[in-house]
Symmetry: C2
Subunit: 201 residues, 2 copies
Amino acid sequence: MEVAPGETFIEEGETPEHFFNVTGGTVRLYKLLPDGRRQITGFARPGHFLGLAVGEANAFSAEALETVRVCRFSRSRLRAVLDDFPAFERRLLRSAANELVAAQEQMLLLGRKTARERVASFLLAQARPLRACDPPPGRFHLPMTRTDIADYLGLTIETVSRTMTRLRTEKLIALPSPAEVVVLDRGRLEALAGGFEEERI
Amino acid sequence: MEVAPGETFIEEGETPEHFFNVTGGTVRLYKLLPDGRRQITGFARPGHFLGLAVGEANAFSAEALETVRVCRFSRSRLRAVLDDFPAFERRLLRSAANELVAAQEQMLLLGRKTARERVASFLLAQARPLRACDPPPGRFHLPMTRTDIADYLGLTIETVSRTMTRLRTEKLIALPSPAEVVVLDRGRLEALAGGFEEERI
DNA sequence: CGTACGGTTGAGTCCAATCAAGCAGCGTGG
DNA sequence: CCACGCTGCTTGATTGGACTCAACCGTACG
């Protein structure tokens, strides 16, 4: 099934009806406050499962960033598959455990890291290849806007922009275009992201 | 198995060897940055499973707040149990899904809520009974210190203290002692926690 | 060509952090 | 018993990092 860019296919608060597996493109997952403040809780890339959420209501909304491909199951179908293939259940459990680890890392970022550290962490995470065995690419494309990045990192677009500019002037990264990033000094970027004391520049 | 207050029984970065089920007391789960900044990712109460984390290293540390009772399994034992009782796997999956929902809620709190909203959300979460069917108690005990609360909410102890004091002077709560909380105006507290515009006081 | 959108940059403000002091409870030991 | 140190909590004064408000730029597009 294909989802057009900008289309919301899971709505926070609605009763969950389907279970999804992302097979192509990037999805943003987010929660809203009544006055419009938004927190993006993650970006789902191919391989990601969506709609595990138990209970009466979806805990988040999901919206296609680009054209997205998903496999969609009804929840009854999911139950049937789970009953027939216990291995799939194990796979889901592994996936949920990995998501939990990522969520905890993000809580550390949101609760305790500075703007610089948040942006550095984000860029390194984006530089990570899909398959762990591949080498991390030095150059990559950001499919999301500055607004998305800000809402993911708990910052404003202005702060994200300023921070990226500063990382550029300090030669840690290069920005051939706003959406293209080149990692120039992975070591210092990792030190920053990891929260090591900042040495004098 | 019993764990003494202050004792760390899961260490971030170590190879996971055991799987735990909390049966009594409260546990704090946290991550550290190299310079000592701490983010508490959650408090585990009875019923909580710990050590699902797959992979080479624990994603967080776990430390007993009070005297804690846990059931401990070796990971090989866990694997055997999972193979013999698929129902247990389903239970773990449900538990992981619930934790994910809580983690996303916490990301919203850390990324987008003000100090007042964070403290209000925290107090209401603490006021929630263990069994969903029970009525929420109006008065309850906080087993953790202000430092713990601050590190959970991404604030400082001073800000937590000031915010609690202000909620008290505004008659939303009462504090018979620093660790005892009485919810006086649940409605306004919930409006605050939910992020509704603040009306003039 | 005009408009809209995403991004960058500047000036000023503010909320929470930092620095600092003081208080209360509590176990210890002279 | 009480002085002492320690820990946890509160409160005050000040600072600062990120937010807000605002202007501007470049590109895409009808």
